[in-house]
Symmetry: C3
Subunit: 113 residues, 3 copies
C-alpha cells in the first residue's frame, strides 16, 4: 500500500508512505538568507510531514542534509542539535551541493511507522 | 531474498531487489550535450530496470536526481514532467553535483513491488 | 523495532537497524590526503558497522559514495574494486560534492539483514 502526500508541484510528492517506511523531503518555505533559519524551517516541515504519516522525529532512521555552502555547516548543525531527538538520533550525512534558487538547505528523511 | 540486476561494470549492480523494495540507478547511455535528452534516456533506463523487477514507474517511492549544472534544472524538469505518472508522483530531490565525464544527469530510484 | 548504533556525536547515529534494513554511514577516521586510503578506511568502517548489525558486505543493497573531487574517482574505484563482494555487488552511485574539513570520501549504505 503506497500513500502519497501531495506537495506544491503536481509531478512530485512531498512524502510517500509504503508499508512501514516513510520518505519525505523538505526545504524552507521562506528563503531567508540564514542557514540556521532555513534549517529550522525545513525541519519543521519534516515534522509536519511525519505527523501526517502518523509518526514523529523519534522514528527517523536516516537524514541526508544537503547544504549550499559547506562553510555554513555549523549553522545547520546548530538548528539540527536543537531539534533532534537525542534519545533517537538518526543516521545523518551532510553534503555540500548546488540547490535551486535561494534554497540553502534541503533535507531527505527515511523514517519508520 | 536479494536479487541483483547486473550492470556494465562487474563490481556494481544496476539494480537490487530485496523483499518488496527495488533500488535502481541510471545515467544516459549516450552522452549527448542536452540535459533534456540525457534525462529522457536515464528515465527510459529506469523504466527498463523497473520492468525487469516486474513493476513500473507507478511504484516509484523516491527519486534523487543529480544534475551537473543547476542552471539546467528546467530542462531536466521538462523531461521529468513529460515522463512522470501524475497519478503516482514520487518524492523527489534534485541536487547539483559533479558527475563523471560527460554525464549530465544521474537518477537513483527506490520503488516498491 | 529500531536499533541505533551510537557514533562519536550524540545527535547522530553511525547506523540504524529497522526490521530487516540496515542503514550506515562512514568517513575515514584518519584524514590522510589520499582518496584511495580514505576510501579503504571508510569501507572498513562500513564493514565494522555491518558486523555490529550482524551482517557483512554481501548484504549491501545500495551505496552512495560522495567524493570531494571527481577527478579522483579512479582512486576511490580502486579501493572499491579491491573491497567489493563481486558475487554480490551493490547498486552504487558516486557524486562529487563538498565534504567537511579534510574528508575526501563519505559513504552511505543500505543493507538487509
Amino acid at each position: 500500500m503506497i500513500t502519497r502526500l501531495p506537495g506544491s508541484i503536481p509531478t512530485r510528492s512531498r512524502g510517500v508512505i509504503c508499508d512501514n517506511l516513510v520518505f519525505t523531503v523538505a526545504v524552507a518555505p521562506d528563503k531567508v538568507p540564514s542557514f540556521y533559519q532555513q534549517t529550522r524551517q525545513a525541519l519543521a516541515a519534516i515534522d509536519a510531514s511525519l505527523a501526517e504519516a502518523g509518526i514523529d522525529k523519534s522514528r527517523i532512521l536516516t537524514a541526508i542534509v544537503y547544504i549550499a555552502d559547506m562553510a555554513q555547516k555549523p549553522e545547520m548543525n546548530r538548528a539540527w542539535d536543537e531539534w533532534v531527538d537525542r534519545a533517537n538520533p538518526p543516521m545523518r550525512a551532510c553534503l555540500g551541493v548546488a540547490l535551486e534558487g535561494n534554497d540553502l538547505v534541503e533535507i531527505v528523511v527515511t523514517a519508520a511507522k
